[in-house]
Symmetry: C2
């Protein structure tokens, strides 16, 4: 039926010279609603109505359209739909440091799950701690018109996101605060957790506590160091820089740092490590030495309960962190217009390791 209109798409005039090649032996163009409409002998709008389950279409036509859809293998182009209707893209973006890190993959898993509940997909990207890359990724996501952004910030300045926020792309920051931008933020009580950890060691009589950390360039580390120092000061213990090792990036350097401190005069009688990678290295070295020096480490980790020595972790609920952030984000997406909130989640001390 209506076999015309197959090539006179140009309309008015001089339509012949257009697309001299595109109509060639194209391997397999994706069928569009136009193709379906032609195949079913109905108008394109009727196809649209059937696809979208809109009312007021004869059952007979519905069947014909659905048959054509099945036969041609039609699949609605979600991009065109979004463009035309101005509706949401049903996509959110997540920027983290490194997907392979369990902390971040837990966040990603929660975000994906929540997204699925809102019939939304999740674009995940790793900034690799590079502010430049972070900015590039965020721009990219915005240009794809995501409905919202979850960001574990790597950079210090996020003011370039202000236009996006004002134009309706909500952003929620996790684990670290944003710089130069007022936005919802969900943090852990790094400072309080470190205070509690050191306080525990002080209560057990320790006066010489070795502190191992990665780098104070990262916000969380600064907070944790600050908390530890506050707890020491509150106990009247002075700062001894020989008991602080910075630049401990992995288990091996942690083990080396422990060995170095223990070999010194007046060695520490306890260690406070500021993340779980360091904790693993500390435990490994202490096990090697059959030493029973007491350990408190920030961050719990999988299988910590199977470590060969008793120790204490400053634990927190990563899933709750993520869930809180995602909930905030979807509230914003749903139209929430209240003043941005900052939520800080508590930490707890937990005993780990085989007795």
């Amino acid at each position: 039926m209506s076999a015309e209109a197959s090539d006179q798409v140009g309309g008015s005039g001089a339509g012949r010279s257009a697309h001299p090649v595109r109509r060639g032996p194209e391997v397999a163009r994706r069928p569009t609603m136009v193709d379906v409409a032609r195949h079913a002998g109905v108008s394109i709008k009727t196809v649209s109505r059937v696809i979208n389950n809109e009312p007021n279409v004869q059952q007979q036509l519905i069947d014909r359209v659905l048959a054509s859809v099945a036969e041609l293998g039609f699949r609605r182009n979600h991009l065109a739909r979004t463009l035309r209707s101005g509706q949401s893209t049903a996509t959110i973006g997540l920027i983290i440091e490194d997907l392979a890190n369990p902390f971040y993959s837990t966040i990603a898993a929660i975000a994906a799950e929540a997204a699925a509940q809102h019939e939304t997909l999740l674009i995940t990207a790793s900034s690799e701690e590079d502010p430049q890359r972070e900015q590039q990724l965020l721009r990219d996501l915005c240009s794809r018109r995501v409905d919202g952004l979850l960001v574990v910030p790597a950079g210090y300045d996020h003011s370039y996101l202000r236009p996006e926020v004002e134009m309706g792309t909500p952003v929620v920051f996790l684990d670290r605060p944003a710089g130069g931008l007022l936005a919802d933020t969900v943090l852990l009580d790094n400072r309080g957790g470190a205070q509690a950890g050191v306080r525990r060691l002080v209560e057990h009589g320790h006066r010489r506590i070795g502190i191992l950390l990665d780098s104070v360039a990262v916000y969380t580390m600064r907070e944790r160091v600050g908390g530890a120092q506050e707890a020491l000061a509150a106990a009247g213990i002075g700062y001894d820089e020989r008991l602080v090792a910075e630049g401990v990036h992995d288990p091996d350097t942690a083990a080396a740092a422990v060995a170095g401190m223990l070999a010194a005069d007046e060695p520490p009688t306890a260690f406070f490590s500021l993340n779980n990678r360091i904790t693993v290295g500390v435990l490994q070295e202490l096990w090697r030495r059959k030493s029973q020096v007491e350990v408190v480490g920030f961050d719990d980790f999988e299988l910590s309960f199977l470590m060969p020595q008793r120790f204490t972790v400053v634990s927190y609920d990563t899933r709750q962190l993520a869930r809180t952030a995602v909930d905030l984000l979807f509230q914003r997406i749903a139209g929430e217009r209240s003043w941005p909130r900052t939520v800080t989640l508590p930490t707890t001390l937990v005993e780990r390791g085989l007795s």
Copy 2:
């Protein structure tokens, strides 16, 4: 300049009745190229040229356009761009079981990294082992016109993907083969790995080997069980169903299964566990009993080297698995048309645990 054309977009006639509300006090519409063009006093195509760094634009106009872009906070709409030019969306999709599982998050990390190298973003989704959900997600991704798909299949039938593949959306399967669809596939040598693991135990003189597995409903488990049985048969050891525990889903049930087997007459002198969750449970129970029964487990895992007892893992390179799959996918996206390949990656036996 050219201050007209601001409201006569309708053109021909009766343009007044359209959008009586949309032009209202809209909070903050995203600026488009039309807005930029108006602001800079040039045509929309000139804006397009500047944005895309196309030649043949006066420096003076370039500056004016860029200034307007900055002032209005314009960001190109990537969806519209894709729609018009028919180009790629610069997006790939990844379907896995569960992002929080380190095996899958490693795959996701590699995929994201490779995607970034191709200036592509990654949409990640978890099927939660539900074939229905998997199909829904794949449809969703296709309707967003992703350039390619990486799938750890949950279902048994993927023939519904054939139209998509034929219309140019390449699919690569990881870890498990697809059903009813010829496509690139990257697998681990589950069968060979299990054979090697059991053979090692047999060589150490064991004749009664307890085998613990989750469920044979999963392809990888079937392969591993098959390999184990082949190795036993090759050693002339008959099948004893009392030495096989199925339905071991987590460390706790694994521990219980171990306890049950050890309490029986003729207890096993060694265990072969078919995934790392089970291995952890086995080790935990053996440590509790101070038992030195030998253990071989499929899958290495983080901190396995810190487990309180020596054991052996069937190890493999998850990153290589992912890298191989992503490489295949991007070759397809680049236009590779060769016959689909299946790659099987080797496993190795590795000693783990503290001595």
